[in-house]
Amino acid sequence: MARFLSLAEAVQSIVRDGDSVAMEGFTHLIPHAAGHEIIRQRRKRLTLIRMTPDLIYDQLIGMGCVDKLVFSWGGNPGVGSLHRFRDAVENGWPQPLAVEEHSHAAMANAYEAGAAGLPLAVFRGYVGVDLPKVNPRIKHITCPFTGEQLAAVPAHRPDVAVIHAQRADREGNVMLEGIVGVQKEAVLSAKRSIVTVEEVVDDFGPRNLNAVILPHWTLGAVVAVPGGAYPSYAQGYYKRDNAFYIAWDKIARERASFQAWMKDNVLEQGPEVFAAHARRLNAKAA
């Protein structure tokens, strides 16, 4: 059952040291504010799961919160490398990072299977490539009807899913629209969840009969954090701050500049800065 909490309370009560955590968002609706709160609360030994780890995972890794990353594409989209991720893999800084690597198809299917309560996902994939040689969790099954060999991976069943969405109603039902990625599956596959939203409304009002809505009883905590996806975007609220993604490349390249930025912008801030980021972005666009 969804509880309305502050972000600090939500992370406090739901995310534990050593948890597997899926903070999902496919370019759109990435839960940056929640990620910062996890960093501020100094969670340790996390296994982070995500198809497209980008800046927020770079930050969590660089701040030493993460023991293991389960992923399929780790980069700064359209810009280049994630320097903190690379530093952890290549140099073990600030600590070694174990990697469980998949393709997007495998990750998407693994979330889908988790949401569907299955132990495995079956799909046609990994043909002629090297990932199965380095990831022992990629196996195969034989179709009993055709004899075809199909790839199989374990379903994702994270301890915690964290997503950002556009709106919640007063009951705690949550609505998403636009590029919805694997967020619904991430929440439905997880044991616990935190959803940050742009706003809480009295009523969703007239809406598409097939709108993407997560009922309140599928959710853990619901937290209003306006701007909480910044520098990613929330369709209908604010655009992606592409300039910040480009700027991140320079910030994260060196350990010292990274740490200084984290201190100023995360450790010594609270979630309320996100609303200001979004306002600033909208003011510039206008």
Binding site: G78, F85, S103, A105, G128, V182, K184, F244, A285
Partner: protein
Amino acid sequence: MADYKPGEMMTVAAARALRNEDVCFVGIGMPSAASNLARLTHAPGITLIYESGTIATRPDVLPLSIGDGELCSTALTTVSVPEMFRYWLQGGRMTVGFLGGAQIDRFANLNTTVVGPYDRPKVRLPGGGGAPEIASSCGEIFIIMAQSKRSFVAKLDFITSMGHGEGGDHRARLGLKSKGPTKLVTDLCIFEPDPQSREMTVTSIHPGVTREQIADNTGWPVRYAANIAVTAAPTADELRVLREVHARTARAHGEAA
């Protein structure tokens, strides 16, 4: 003939490979530029699909990421990512997949995973993302990459997505029904697979480019087809449309800077 840069020639040549009736799974970066150039010139009916779930998108500016809001708001509809990979990609609905990569070998296998050993990489690259299954599920694959000895290598450290594997009928032996890479467009020339060996073979050289330049930027001894064309230079219209979309994109992405 208009003045143009090698990168513009590459994008234009790649765009021309796409047909009006194609359903194209578009990778980010140069594949996205080429696909949208095709849509804005000779292939207005082309269906562009991005792995973020946007179907039949018609962006006015090029996306910086695979999931920019512009892709969604101009799409016919947007589906979830599991649906995209299950019903649309694995469902075999894409006539073309358009990929780039960090490294390629002469059979058009791609590496975007690691340079060096997997467990102790010299360079940790972003990883495969959608590429492994794009490469196997789309009807055929177009690849667009600038040539250099660092990226066109004799042996890949890691096979992220399969091209023609070890060549010959390797794909068929693995049960793949799709064609694999049929075109590799670079800033110097166009490669296509040899009908027998499936080695990528130069079939067209961009205007003014020499075989020596190609050799200097390729990590294996390059093969040439019996008949080699000279790639038609970009037309004034192609260049205008490409430069306009890049200018719109720069304005849009820079506006918050």
